[in-house]
């Protein structure tokens, strides 16, 4: 027999002025199961909570009803009071007589009192069916997976690993480093990207808590927060990394030449290659599509010259499985393809290049040794036109959003051009200069003065060839005239776009992505690092265009989230989750279909009645269940119970007034 204690709060005058609290107490005292009822000025105060604690002990109460403000306000407070008295905190029910009665029926005290009595009666009825619940603890595998080895992935991996949590870092290409490794200098301080990045890359390679899996892709992710299982496909590199010394004899002798991705195809690499000299790991891989040994079975030079015998043409793709607890997705971005800008002659004129190509040209380790050259004739350009917002902020041909970094890197490019070619002149066609960031505006101002760059506010309408020059015709909106600039080289500040593999990755991870292909955060303001799926976090441009400082901040934020998640051996979880009664479950699996979290799986149990066979029933993973109750209402057999909102509890409420 339940023994219920009811505590009615005055909330100062908030309740007492509009509800006859003593009358409410008298009314609830009439209920059979109520063994104690009282009132107090502020139940949430320490003395108020003390009253609850005392009454629990004195009257041997089995459940508690507090009639006060909304449970969304003080439910946690009162649950703690129950805990303090040694009672299961989930035996509490809150009757919301403030927000639902005294505050909304201020003109009719009698009606408000009546309603408060009903609300108390409902809470008492519900509390009678309350059961002791216990926080769920889910074991956690303390290992994180970082997908993507750009600066975001590197930073996240290092930060997590520094907290002595093992990290598996998966990178698609043969080396980590990402886009940042292709950059020359970085705005607004113009420090050398390689100089600040390569130490971190080396740290990753040598860190005892980081397992680096380059040249690999994530194939499958199963499980739930704290308990994921990941399948990683390590592509065949045809080079045994364990025996390879990284001497480079192989790629020096390889006869096959293919465009070099690292240098944006400006020069050639070999079919066996390391992407760039500072690559981590600094071991070559064979490009299976272009290697004649692998495609036609002819050549084999690399194997002949490899003294340690690291070349293995028979190597197969390898599937690696790891148990992990959290995922950081840092797949970066792609450069947008400017082909739709036909009026610029993209594709027809060799001397129109993208900003990343320019970046490679001015890079000291680039294909032109740091001096920009015209691709058509190799001449050093004097007049260079930079066009911004190629693709960005263009609904007709490109994408709607601002790519955020182009203003700054174009400014940087004008400086780099000025440094490398002293007698050059840069022209920048722009829509706006967006330089919001620490030191950014100053950087732009200084660059304008130092380089003498001509800034032209307006769009370019046409580029045509005149002799060996490119004629760039655009509008200078500030003087309202069409201008034509004779250029040796045109650099397009192409937009940042989401990696094209993102939708597929999102599907296999079970997270969502937006219309551009960027992965979606759980909340745009308050949960920008998390995804809707617990235990999966986002770092860097895979979520939206960002510059390096922002990317690094977000990566560190991810690391903090992961470390927080792994701070205990188990995760605590609200016990308001669904459970299945196997006896009643008919195994129709409709609940599996409606569960938004994939928390329901099937299980086999003995049939019983002495029959030696198994039957299928549903099984709820309480680590994943969020307690929405969709499955409960859909279950025709009423085999599912949602703790805290059981059918008897709700029906008791319905029939108690």
């Amino acid at each position: 027999m339940a023994r219920v204690g009811v505590f009615v709060c005055f909330c100062g005058a908030n309740i007492a002025d509009y509800v006859d609290v003593p009358q409410v107490v008298e009314e609830v005292k009439r209920i059979k199961e109520v063994k104690f009822a009282t009132e107090y000025k502020y139940m949430c105060s320490d003395p108020g909570q003390g009253m609850i604690r005392d009454a629990i002990i004195q009257y041997k109460l089995t459940s508690i009803v507090v009639a006060a403000c909304s449970p969304r306000m003080h439910e946690k407070t009162f649950r703690k009071a129950l805990s303090d008295a040694g009672m299961n905190p989930y035996l509490l029910e809150v009757a919301n007589i403030r927000e639902h009665s005294s505050w909304v029926h201020q003109k009719d005290k009698k009606a408000a009192t009546n309603k408060a009595m009903d609300l108390c009666r409902m809470a008492v009825a519900k509390s009678i069916a309350n059961e002791q619940l216990h926080e769920i603890s889910v074991p956690v595998t303390k290992r994180a997976l970082v997908i993507g080895g750009g600066i975001a992935g590197i930073q996240a991996a290092l930060d997590i690993a520094d907290a002595r949590i093992p990290v598996v870092l998966v990178e698609k290409s043969p080396s980590i480093g990402g886009k940042m490794a292709q950059l020359d200098e970085t705005f607004p301080t113009l420090d050398c990207a390689q100089c600040i990045l390569t130490p971190k890359m080396v740290d990753v390679a040598s860190h005892p808590y980081i397992e680096l899996i380059p040249y690999a892709e994530v194939l499958e992710l199963q499980g739930f927060v704290g308990n994921y299982k990941v399948k990683i496909k390590k592509k065949a590199s045809y080079v045994n990394f364990k025996t390879c010394t990284g001497c480079g004899a192989c790629w020096q002798k390889c006869p096959v030449k293919v465009p070099n991705e690292y240098n944006m195809g400006i020069d050639k690499r070999k079919a066996i290659y390391t992407p760039f000299p500072q690559a981590v790991p600094n071991k070559p891989v064979i490009d299976a599509e272009n290697c004649t040994m692998l495609t036609k079975g002819k050549c084999g030079i690399c194997k002949k010259v490899c003294l340690p015998g690291a070349i293995d043409y028979e190597m197969q793709d390898e599937i690696i499985e790891r148990e992990i607890g959290a995922v950081v997705v840092a797949t970066g971005y792609d450069m947008w393809d400017p082909t739709p800008y036909e009026e610029y002659g993209v594709g027809r004129f060799k001397d129109i290049i993208t900003s990343l190509e320019f970046e490679r040209m001015v890079s000291a380790n680039g294909p032109t040794n740091g001096v920009p050259q015209r691709p058509s004739d190799g001449k050093v350009p004097k007049n260079v036109v930079f066009i911004k917002c190629v693709g960005s902020r263009d609904e007709a041909k490109g994408i709607e959003y601002c790519s955020k970094i182009c203003c700054m890197y174009t400014t940087k490019h004008t400086i780099l051009l000025h440094h490398k070619v002293h007698d050059s002149h840069a022209y920048v066609f722009y829509m706006d200069i967006r330089a919001a960031g620490k030191g950014y505006e100053e950087f732009v101002k200084k660059a304008q003065v130092d380089t003498g760059t001509t800034y032209l506010r307006g769009r370019v309408s046409k580029i045509y060839k005149k002799g060996d020059k490119l004629m760039v015709r655009g509008e200078d909106a500030q003087i309202g005239q069409v201008v034509e600039v004779e250029a040796d080289l045109v650099v397009l500040a192409t937009a940042v776009s989401a990696p094209k593999d993102n939708p597929e990755l999102a599907r296999l991870l079970g997270i969502s992505y937006d219309k551009y292909g960027y992965l979606s955060e759980a909340h745009p303001k308050l949960r920008p690092v998390e995804t809707a799926k617990a235990g999966i976090f986002l770092a860097g441009c895979t979520q939206a265009p960002k510059d390096i400082p922002e990317t690094v901040s977000q990566a560190s934020a991810c690391a903090a989230k992961v470390c927080g998640l792994f701070s205990g051996d188990t995760m605590k979880k609200d016990p308001m989750v669904s459970t299945i009664n196997n006896e009643y479950c008919s195994g129709c699996q409709n609940c599996v279909k409606v569960c938004p979290y994939g928390a329901i799986i099937t299980d086999e149990v003995p049939v019983g009645h002495g029959i030696k066979d198994l039957r299928t029933v549903a099984k709820i993973n309480e680590g994943v269940c969020q307690g929405c109750g969709s499955c409960v209402a859909i279950c025709r057999s009423m085999a599912i119970t949602l703790a805290g909102f059981t059918d008897p509890q709700i029906i008791n409420e319905i029939v108690s007034i």
């Binding site: 005292k29 009439r30 209920i31 059979k32 109520v34 009666r121 009645h609 029939v655 108690s656 007034i657």
Partner: protein, 353 residues
Amino acid sequence: MSFTTFVTDKAGLQKFYEAVMASRETYAPVEKFGKFDFKRVARLSECDPVSPIAKTLSIKPLFFPRTAKVMKYVATSAGTDVSEVDEDPLAVKRVILGAKHCDARSLQVLDKVYNWDYIDTDYQKRRENTVIISTRCDKADTHCFCTSLDYDVENLDALDVLVVNGADGKTYLEARTAKGEALLGETFTSDAVRVTKEEAAPEMKKQYDAFAASFRLKMDYKEVNAKLAKIFDTPEFENVSGNCVSCNTCAFVCPTCHCFKISDEKVKDTGVRYKSYDSCNNGYFTLMAGGHNPRPVKYRRWRQRAMHKFVYYKERFGENLCVGCGKCTISCPVNISIFEVVSQVSAAAGNRQ
């Protein structure tokens, strides 16, 4: 004591019925959705006293309601206040028209169990206050086998007034009990002819003989009783119950089944306790609180049903718990006949010996 017999015609019978309705609360078969159920009627036009047996539910609910309130209670912190339910609407003086012989007989069978170790006063009161007027069937239905069972259909005294439509076109009314005699005496109008029992006997006998000859189904209940008692463990039950869908209808329409369940309904502080029909074909019928279920499979429940009707009840009370009305067979969605089942099972028993 000798009882009166009247002879009249159709119109006279109608007048009699109308007079009964005017003076007493009357229950008679009323059609709804193509099925006749006994309901309270005020006018003869509302009902059909000669409703077809195949489409008429039994009169059992008028004595043992499908749902009856047992008690009412108010539970507060001051204590639990139990009160009797409001007056029983079925316990007033009343008349049932158009009952079939088998229905009337079922009450005789049920009387035994209701007057056994515990006397059900509600049932008793309803029985005492009720006069049953029964029209003898002219023709047996496909599934009827009342004449094959252990009671004298012709001279049945479970009914109070017998109505027979004679082959000569006349209608004979015979009081069979004192209650019937009283009713006839009170309400019968003068244009009827009072005859002695002997005078009416030939015509009534003729009608009965024609009726008795119309039975498709015939069995020897004594043989069934004896054989069934010996073959509790025959696998034949598994065969005969094969196509049963466990729908429980047979028990709910059976005029002699009397199993019930108890349930409470409580809203706010006030509750009512109900007693409602249940069925032994229900898989959870014998489920005990501890979780054990002695009859978890269908054939065992079927065996219980057949054995209870033809063995156990007979052993305890000397009567078969079956009146041969065929209602279960008619209502069965897959037309399983209790007649067939017991015949088949006892035949199988015969083969075994």
